[in-house]
């Protein structure tokens, strides 16, 4: 008898049939209670109907020719039109800028040692070079354009090789190169007077997705350090510094971005002499960056407040001076704890770049809207255009939040 009991207890029986496999999943997730069952039936019906209508529209009624007609202009806006760069073809400048970015991604892939960076780098290069195979006629999209797009694959390898075989393959040099690449891209797009082939292109012709990305990258890179400075200023014990930072943060957070952009176009030029070189896009970039850093400051202040004061006290007890305590102990932990909020702010900054329509430049959204308004035969395609634009933005913003989640996992937030 004893032996039989032993086998009975020792045996690990599988869970009952109703709790595993498809049946178990359906029971647990769709039919756990009677009202859950009703909810499942109702929501499935609504979802099914919505999908039915949506898919039917997608297959039979939707007309995406407006996207094809706009084509590359969605990416560069009016950059290549005749009045922007008279007598020459400027299309190669954004394309070379893209190649530089791809090379940088290749370098980052090598420096980060694979993983997510590798997948992003390869994904971007493949996606971009796939545009070379678009079924446009050769007059519409020349061989030079296609070859420059395909070159992204090659350049990715070059960037990787630079990281692998030259002493530039360290995180520090990669950061320096990133800043350098950004400066070179801005110079390339702006043009340098006196150099043949690099005639200046006025910023009012910059546009398309290129403009959104440039504004977003500049804003993201600068708003984090400015935000940290403002947050530290607001927590400072020095009353003058504190009051100045609070005033700045509250003014920029209290007024809508669009009002600030309008003011930057009307008020700021008055403060400079009439013959002073004015650059509306630069002013807009400054306003977007400052606006975003005010929000960033509040996020970082939240992170600093949530930090256990024991951390800073222990650092001081170990003999670290104040600034080392802040920059080596407190800030890294504070920033790590508010990564979702910071990335949320980055995403919101990227979305806000669509507001530059108010200063009269044609970013990707405004370019599409103006095109529809100017070509009424496409009026019925407006919904396709806006859905497409929504998806374009979504790919970038969702990508950013995905990367942030991966970074959080990597840093082990919430696990320690």
């Amino acid at each position: 008898m004893a032996a039989k009991f032993e086998t009975d207890f020792g045996q690990v029986l599988p869970p009952p049939r109703s709790q595993q496999g498809v049946t178990g999943w359906v029971r647990a997730n769709l039919l756990s209670t009677w009202y859950n069952g009703v909810l499942t039936v109702m929501s499935a019906a609504v979802l099914g109907a919505a999908l039915w209508v949506g898919v039917r529209w997608l297959i039979f009624d939707s007309d995406w020719t407006v996207i094809g007609t706009l084509g590359g202009q969605l990416v560069i806006g009016q950059y290549n039109i005749e009045s922007a760069c008279p007598g020459q073809n400027c299309f190669w400048r954004p394309q070379v800028s893209l190649l530089l970015v791809t090379a940088l991604l290749g370098m980052a892939w090598r420096v980060a040692g694979g993983g997510l960076t590798k997948r992003i780098a390869i994904g971007v290069a493949v996606a971009v070079s796939a545009f070379a195979l678009l079924p446009y006629s050769m007059e519409r999209m020349g061989m030079d354009v296609r070859l420059l797009l395909l070159a992204n694959l090659l350049v990715l390898g070059v960037g990787w090789a630079i990281g692998r075989y030259t002493p530039l393959g360290t995180a520090r040099w990669a950061t320096v190169s990133a800043v350098g690449v950004f400066v070179v891209i801005v110079l390339l797009l702006r043009g340098v007077p006196g150099i043949p082939g690099l005639e200046p292109v006025s910023v009012i012709y910059w546009g398309g997705l290129m403009l959104n990305l440039l504004l977003a990258v500049a804003g993201i890179t600068l708003s984090l350090p400015i935000g940290v400075a403002l947050a530290l200023g607001r927590r400072s014990r020095l009353p003058v510094v504190k009051v100045l930072c609070i005033t700045f943060i509250e003014i920029f957070r209290g007024v809508p971005l669009i009002t600030l952009l309008l003011m930057s176009q009307v008020l700021v030029p008055l403060a400079f002499p009439e013959d002073f070189p004015q650059n509306s896009l630069f002013r807009a970039a400054v306003v977007i960056t400052l606006f975003s850093s005010a929000y960033m400051a509040e996020n970082i202040r939240g992170g600093l407040q949530a930090l256990d004061p024991g951390q800073a006290e222990a650092a001081r007890a170990l003999g670290l001076p104040g600034w080392q305590t802040m920059f080596l102990i407190s800030l890294p932990q504070a920033i790590r704890n508010v990564i979702p909020a910071i990335v949320g702010q980055f995403i919101s900054l990227f979305k806000d770049t669509s507001l530059v329509y108010i200063i009269g430049v044609l970013d990707v959204v405004e370019f599409g809207r103006a095109f529809i308004q100017g070509n009424t035969e496409y009026l019925a395609s407006a919904k396709e255009l806006y859905i497409f634009l929504a998806l374009v933005f979504w790919v970038f913003t969702y990508g950013m939040s995905y990367v942030s989640r991966r970074i959080e996992q990597h840093l082990g937030v919430g696990e320690r």
Partner: protein
């Protein structure tokens, strides 16, 4: 030399390395720098105004605005002054803000709760909603909704729901109320306010008694009854004095050869698109806030409440929700503020909000003064919301 050095040291520390000195030096330098920058900026603007003959000052506020305003909720004519046009514009922004906040809160809570549902389909659908709507620029969403409104059929062929709702490309017409006379309407609204205050006082008194004595006092029921009774008495009294009910229902009806709609309350197309965009965008953020708030209450709290014998609803009302509110309210207030500020995108789809009207005004009036005014108005609005939020937050803290 030695005396100079000694006078410049404090307990052996050179003066320029002394913490207090450095701190004060930083403060004085930064203070002077900022003040100088601000003075430089505004004096340059002042000079430019004088040199280039740019109009300035606030004298324009008494002039006639002489520009039509699309949809307005206060009575407005082109012959009204700039000052009054500002009031009309501010009301337009305020109404979008208040209506948007109410609708977005409702939708946001619904989606946030659905996100936590144990039902897989419901949970995934709300996840998809949140991830899509908060990751797409509001401007794109507004353009999309505005296009949808414009693509609706014209008034004569518009959709009619139950003879009460009219949907067409000029907007949405819903049943409304019309006041028989201004005096009667104001008198009854005053009485209604008194009724609400009386109801709140009654509720608090009865709720307090219930907690003190344990005897059932039905605070909610009696409170509501107080409000209804006082409101009804007021209605009858005002009606008897002015000879007719203070408000009469106004049902929209098609009329005339072109099917124009008379009566009811028409929400213009731009406003419909603006509200749709703002509400759906903000609701996605509110949903995440609600979910985070409810999840922040430890599971042990609701388990303990169940163990003490509270019902499912009682756990939610007396244990989970009050604790979740403390986490929810601060970010919720900042979302309300965002919605209000985002309503400044209205200009892009043809609704006359504060920023849009101010932008139009700059063509006929001094831009500097107008921008100073709307900046002050927006800051005041922000601070008011923050104040209300902070007061509420203090009230629900333990």
């Amino acid at each position: 030399m030695a005396t100079v050095l000694r006078s410049l040291t404090y307990r052996g520390i050179p003066v320029w390395r002394h913490v207090k000195v450095i701190q004060w030096a930083i403060q004085i330098v930064s203070g002077i720098a900022v003040v100088a920058l601000v003075v430089w900026f505004f004096s340059n603007i002042g000079n430019a105004i004088q040199e280039r003959d740019i109009p300035y000052g606030f004298g324009f506020l008494d002039r006639e605005y002489q520009t039509p305003i699309g949809q307005h909720f206060l009575p407005y004519e082109s012959s009204d002054t700039f000052l009054y046009a500002f009031v009309v514009a501010f009301t337009n922004t305020l109404i979008v803000s208040v209506v948007g906040v109410v609708l977005a809160t409702g939708l946001g809570i619904l989606i946030g709760v659905a996100r936590m549902s144990s039902n897989w389909i419901v949970s995934k659908v709300s996840l998809a909603y949140i991830e899509f709507f908060r990751n797409v620029p509001l401007l794109v969403q507004l353009f999309f909704w505005f296009y949808i409104v414009l693509a609706l059929p014209p008034v004569r062929e518009g959709y009619v729901v139950a003879d009460r709702l009219y949907v067409n490309n000029s907007g949405l017409t819903i049943p409304g109320v019309s006041a028989s006379s201004l005096a009667a309407a104001l008198a009854w609204l005053g009485l209604a306010t008194i009724a609400v205050v009386a109801a709140v006082v009654t509720y608090r008194w009865l709720a307090g008694r219930e907690i003190r004595t344990g005897a059932a006092s039905y605070p909610l029921l009696v409170g509501c009854a107080t409000a209804v009774v006082i409101g009804l008495i007021g209605w009858v009294a005002v009606g008897a004095v002015s000879g007719g009910a203070p408000f009469t229902p106004s049902i929209p009806e098609p009329e005339g050869a072109f099917g124009r709609i008379s009566g009811g309350f028409t929400v213009a197309g731009g406003l419909v698109a603006l509200l749709a965009g703002l509400v759906m965008y903000t609701a996605a953020f509110i949903a995440e806030i609600v979910r985070a708030g409810i999840q922040s209450v430890g599971r042990g709290q609701s388990e303990a409440a169940r163990a003490l014998g509270l019902s499912g609803m009682g756990v939610l009302r007396h244990v989970t929700f009050p604790q979740a509110l403390r986490v929810i309210v601060p970010p919720l207030i900042s979302q309300y503020l965002n919605l209000t500020k985002n309503s400044s995108l209205a200009g892009a789809i043809g609704y006359s909000d504060l920023t849009n009207i101010a932008k139009t005004m700059t063509q006929t009036a001094p831009a500097v003064s107008i921008f100073l005014l709307i900046m002050v108005i927006y800051l005041a609005l922000s601070l008011t919301y923050s104040l209300i939020g902070n007061l509420y937050n203090r009230a629900i803290r333990f």
